[in-house]
């Protein structure tokens, strides 16, 4: 008795389109089991989740606010994962982006006009993220050191560095007024994104979408993007074609780091207005990997998936303030994980079919 995978000869478009939908439905059904077990009505919970994140007015704008950093960390993962390079440290690059962005906001942006101030903050964030990816990029390109481990380690170093700056010292980033409850020093108005009306949504959304477009152009229409594709799919051919594999690997990981850093900068300029370790310790970088994977590394799909997962994340928060039915906040995180697990499985079924034989011997397809 054995199972085996056979590659589908034709992958129909409906396979591609149905996979995410079925994955989400399967995850919801799977989650329902646990909800029932804990004594909740799954339909009530899911209805409340959906309303909290998408149908109410502040629901949709709050979901989009969460989507902003997720689009950017999603792009950060997408640009390298599609090459088979696994920078899983967007989380740490995001922290460094936030540290650099907050510094630039406080130190430089004060006397600048708003557009320039925000630009400076964003550029600083991108530089911070790229710098944090630099050791991993360099050692991968020149020594073949696993970027998986190095970026992961750098993430935790960044996490503790950020905590140190706010909780462990009286650093430049810490608000000197906050003696008992340490907080980050606020960046000036001129370094902040303008909010849309009385919502929490800010212009960072347009920046994120513009950058998704830019990444798409880069991958599709530039020679750097072309090099990245070749190095990703066939490093040997790239070498024969005269593409510098090392330079391309360096560039790709640095770009990924810059995108992660940018995500940190948009959080500082659009939401927290300071270096806020509590607000950032939410795994936005790791979720970006989920976003990229569900989006099959396509920049446009990243925007959609980030909005969907942003809604799911936001629902957790929104549910707390929802009157009536008590819906457990943790459901949203559990569902995110379940959706991802089913999506990973579903992705395979879109390309392969699972066949089963009792004898264990199958004639190769």
């Amino acid at each position: 008795m054995s199972f085996r995978l056979e590659r589908r000869l034709e992958v129909h478009w409906w396979n591609q389109a149905l996979t995410p939908v079925l994955s989400i439905l399967a995850a919801l059904a799977f989650g329902a089991v646990f909800l029932l077990f804990e004594g909740f009505n799954p339909f009530t919970v899911y209805k409340a989740l959906f309303e909290a994140s998408f149908t109410s007015k502040f629901g949709i704008t709050d979901s989009l606010t969460v989507a902003v950093p997720l689009i950017l960390t999603g792009l950060a993962a997408a640009v390298v994962f599609r090459m088979g390079l696994f920078n899983i440290g967007a989380e740490g690059q995001l922290y460094l982006g936030a540290i650099f962005a907050a510094w630039a906001g406080i130190a430089i942006a004060d006397n600048l006009p708003t557009v320039l101030g925000v630009t400076v903050v964003l550029i600083a964030g991108a530089i911070g993220g790229a710098l944090w990816a630099l050791p991993a990029a360099y050692f991968k390109a020149y020594f073949g050191t696993s970027e998986i481990i190095s970026t992961l380690m750098l993430t935790f170093i960044a996490l503790f560095l950020m905590r140190y700056l706010i909780f462990g010292s009286h650093s430049y980033w810490r608000d000197p007024e906050s003696a008992t409850f340490p907080q980050g020093r606020k960046i000036p108005e001129t370094a902040r994104f303008e909010l849309w009306g009385n919502t929490r949504l800010h212009w960072g959304l347009l920046v994120a979408i513009a950058i998704a477009a830019a990444v798409w152009v880069l991958i599709k229409y530039t020679s750097i993007g072309y090099d990245m594709n070749v190095v990703g799919s066939a490093p040997e051919s790239a070498r024969y074609a005269g593409i510098s594999v090392r330079r391309t690997i360096m560039l790709a990981i640095l770009l990924s780091g810059a995108l992660g850093g940018l995500a940190g900068a948009t959080e500082v300029a659009g939401r927290s207005f300071s270096l806020d370790p509590n607000g950032l310790e939410l795994g936005l970088g790791f979720t970006g990997i989920v976003v990229a994977s569900l989006a099959r590394y396509n920049p446009w799909a990243v925007i959609l998936v980030a909005t969907f997962l942003g809604g799911l994340r936001n629902a957790g928060v929104a549910l707390q303030s929802l009157p009536g039915e008590r819906v457990p906040v943790e459901v949203s995180l559990m569902l995110q994980g379940a959706i991802l697990l089913f999506a990973i499985g579903g992705e395979v079924f879109a390309r392969y079919s699972l066949s089963y034989s009792r004898s264990g011997k199958v004639v190769a397809a």
């Binding site: 190095s150 989920v290 994980g337």
Partner: protein
């Protein structure tokens, strides 16, 4: 006074090392089979919350530890199915396990959050041996899990180096195609070791709630130990006995604050927390270059799904 603070810290480091070592030994088994499982933190959380529920309702320590371990194994089988049978991306699958494990454990642990647990592991004093300065408190006044962990590391070394099954395991991790042609069931070996890895991660999580912090809280219980375990496997260059030593070192880094403050040395806690990751990066960079890769011992097929007919 200060010396006894150091001795207390050393003895406490032994206890702190147990979950790190168990989780890392589990991950080592999976990685030696060629499967990277980044989901250690998730498996530990599921083990911890399950162990707490069982311990809370039955009062039996060992039953709690056993069921908690099984929960970790069950969780790991998801990763085994996705990465071995479905050949999915192991990195994404492992991270999904962390996200799902964090969400699920927080959800099912909601009702017991902050509740204290009565049961505690008791230390065994080895008579006069426990009175030996420094070594006594470290080695002869500990709970059974400390000894079990040390024995496990020795047993795993023997298993990897001296047994047929261990040889098959190493072959699968280094060159699955060769192992396959020798008649080793590659998929089966990978399943068994990924699930065994989850079992140990579950044990590690269970031990945390039953021994170190006898109450359940999602962010305080595991406190990143799953990630430290991942670092440790690299730091120990995939060798069980080095995992043991490394776990003690990393455990000491987690407990050293108490002693250092007594000494008047004021190293910020955050820097001590960084230490395991920093040391691992240094090890990785110094020894991890491509030419020396064999010496470091990273399994050659780590993270690569095995496909027989497509090569």
């Amino acid at each position: 006074m200060n010396e006894s603070a150091l001795v207390l810290t050393l003895a406490a480091s032994m206890v702190a090392a147990v979950p790190i070592a168990l989780a890392a030994l589990g991950e080592l088994l999976a990685e030696r089979a060629g499967v990277l499982n980044l989901g250690v933190e998730g498996m530990m959380l599921i083990g911890a919350v399950t162990a707490f529920q069982i311990g809370d309702s039955t009062g039996s320590l060992w039953l709690a530890l056993g069921i908690g371990s099984l929960a970790g194994a069950l969780f790991a089988s998801i990763h085994a199915f996705l990465s071995v049978t479905l050949r999915a991306n192991q990195i994404v699958s492992g991270l999904a396990l962390v996200i799902f494990g964090t969400g699920l454990s927080t959800f099912i642990g909601k009702s017991i959050e902050g509740k204290p647990l009565d049961t505690d592991f008791t230390s065994t004093r080895w008579g006069v041996l426990a009175d030996i300065p420094v070594l006594g408190p470290m080695f002869f006044d500990q709970d059974p899990m400390v000894y079990a962990t040390i024995l496990l590391a020795i047993a795993l070394t023997f298993y990897l180096e001296r047994t047929r099954a261990g040889l098959a395991l190493r072959a699968v991790g280094e060159s699955p195609a060769t192992a396959d042609s020798m008649g080793v069931a590659v998929g089966m070996v990978r399943y068994v070791h990924v699930i065994a890895g989850g079992l140990l991660a579950g044990t590690a999580g269970s031990y945390l709630v039953l021994r170190q912090v006898p109450s359940w809280s999602q962010d305080a219980t595991t406190a990143g130990i799953g990630w430290i375990a991942l670092a440790l496997v690299v730091f120990a260059s995939w060798k069980p006995l080095r995992v043991l030593l490394g776990a003690f070192l990393f455990g000491f880094a987690r407990r050293a604050n108490f002693w250092l403050q007594g000494e008047g040395v004021d190293i910020p806690a955050e820097f001590l927390s960084m230490l395991p990751y920093l040391l691992t990066i240094i090890v990785l960079v110094v020894w991890g270059s491509r030419d020396l890769r064999r010496k470091v011992g990273a399994p050659a097929s780590l993270g690569v799904p095995y496909v027989r007919d497509e090569r």
